[in-house]
Symmetry: C2
Subunit: 276 residues, 2 copies
DNA sequence: TAATCTAACAACGA
DNA sequence: CTCGTTGTTAGATT
């Protein structure tokens, strides 16, 4: 368990810190070291971004949305792991990064991707046609995400519950890290068919989603990911119940946790508590 | 070989006959017996169509496009077999039909679906958003469909040649009837990967597509389908080389033709001439 | 080992 | 037999 992918809790933490730190600042310089991350040519990207001011910052699923006033938006997806780090006017920059944005008063942030990731710049009017975010599903921490909403989402769906929950078009923000304990807490095998869940199971699943994500946010996100200030979160090994615990005893029945292959992803399950 | 689906040749024949017979006529009455075929409520359909005049008639793939002047279009797809029959003012109507359109001078046409089919009415401006036709591929008899075009279509495609050719988004108009002899004439097994064909094989395939479709059009289409005047075409059993000839000798090597399952469709092949 | 898109394919329904 | 939708899988991506 070295480098783990950022999911909703990590993005939420970053979002809050960025909002507090950089809102209102004016972009002075943009440095692009990895043009493939962008949606437009680097020159156009830089020219459009420079001299604009940071407006509202919010997130949807694993995406950060940073408004560049008056009518542009910077969309960031950290992909399979990345450091998005604030720097102060005088502080030393990270050794390696693929993107740097500097504000008028010489603070700014860098992004280092470990593996894939996107930095897209879009006009307000292009937002709803943006392929990668236009069809993002509801946030599991949104008020609109009610138990009834989950019931509706699952009924008539023949897909496996794990892949359905991880499909960002259904619910945005759950990845292969937090899904492990979410399913365990609801005592669901990852390959259960969505339309076969009992009312009780759906209810448990709903609570598990909220609880797992919220408790990580409360702890500042994963202990394996850095926040805006380079600090690690406090949600660590001891907070996982079955995730990444191959061979260790199930916290409920003491059966050894198994790592199994589910589709193209790995799942950590208790073979006794999570029956198919 | 009872009822066979209409493909490009049958639609082309219908198209020509309809253009000659009904162009310029004014719609006087529309009767809808199967609202599920329509894209809009029956009342709205009837109201919009009535009193408009028939303009240009053309076809794309298995779809007929009938312009209703000045700015509407009647789009017809005969699905898995249907009779689209002209009637004169005094003549008897077919016993069964799901749609009837009568002109001012009491001629008209009826449509009887045997299995699914569409009759859609669209404003000129809605045409390019029409899901079922907007992405139809090129016509294999169009001048733009050159050998080079086919080469480009097949390169880098890992799909099986049969399903690629039958996908209406690639080429529009080939179904599971004519594909049989097209593949045989090019000596191609239906499951060959598109990107593995030699230049010679692509060239043969190109010629086969044109020859098979054109020869059926010349004969007025399939002998198992009725044209606008209720007459059957002249392209019959003797014109098929391997299609629907299970057990009969291959016309080239005399090996018995086999009926095999390819994906969700049936294929008739010569096991010696069409190796995988 | 992760995330996501795409193409290709299977199963199902209308 | 046709066609669209849903879901699954393999491959590719920087």
């Amino acid at each position: 368990m070295n480098k783990i992918m950022p999911e909703l809790p990590e993005i939420t933490v970053l979002n809050r810190q960025m909002a507090k730190e950089i809102t209102g600042k004016h972009i002075h310089e943009v440095e692009v070291c990895q043009p493939k991350c962008l949606n437009i040519p680097p020159e156009q990207f830089v020219e459009t971004a420079v001299s604009k001011a940071i407006g509202q910052i919010y997130s949807r699923g694993k995406w950060l949305f940073i408004k560049l006033k008056p009518d542009y938006n910077l969309l960031i997806n950290l992909g399979m792991g990345a450091d998005l780090l604030y720097f102060k006017p005088s502080s030393k920059l990270p050794e390696k990064y693929q993107f740097k944005l500097t504000f008028a008063e010489h603070s700014g942030f860098t992004i280092r991707f470990y593996w894939f990731g996107y930095i897209h710049l879009l006009h307000e009017k292009e937002l709803n046609q943006h392929k990668l975010t236009a069809k993002l599903g509801i946030s599991p921490l949104d008020k609109e995400f009610t138990k009834q909403y989950l019931v509706k989402l699952l009924e008539k769906r023949k897909a496996r519950i794990k892949s359905l929950l991880m499909d960002q078009k259904n619910i945005a923000g759950i990845g292969n890290v937090y899904i492990q304990d979410i399913l365990f807490n609801a005592r669901l095998h990852p390959n259960r068919k969505a339309n076969n869940l009992s009312d009780q199971e759906i209810s448990d699943l709903y609570d598990a989603i909220k609880n797992v994500l919220n408790s990580s946010i409360k702890k500042g996100g994963l202990a394996y990911e850095k926040n805006f200030y380079g600090q690690k979160g406090n949600f660590g090994t001891e907070d996982f119940r079955v995730g990444y615990k191959t061979g260790e005893p199930c916290p409920v029945c003491f059966a050894p946790i198994e790592k199994i292959r589910t589709g193209s992803t790995s799942s950590y399950i208790c073979p006794k508590c999570q029956k198919l």
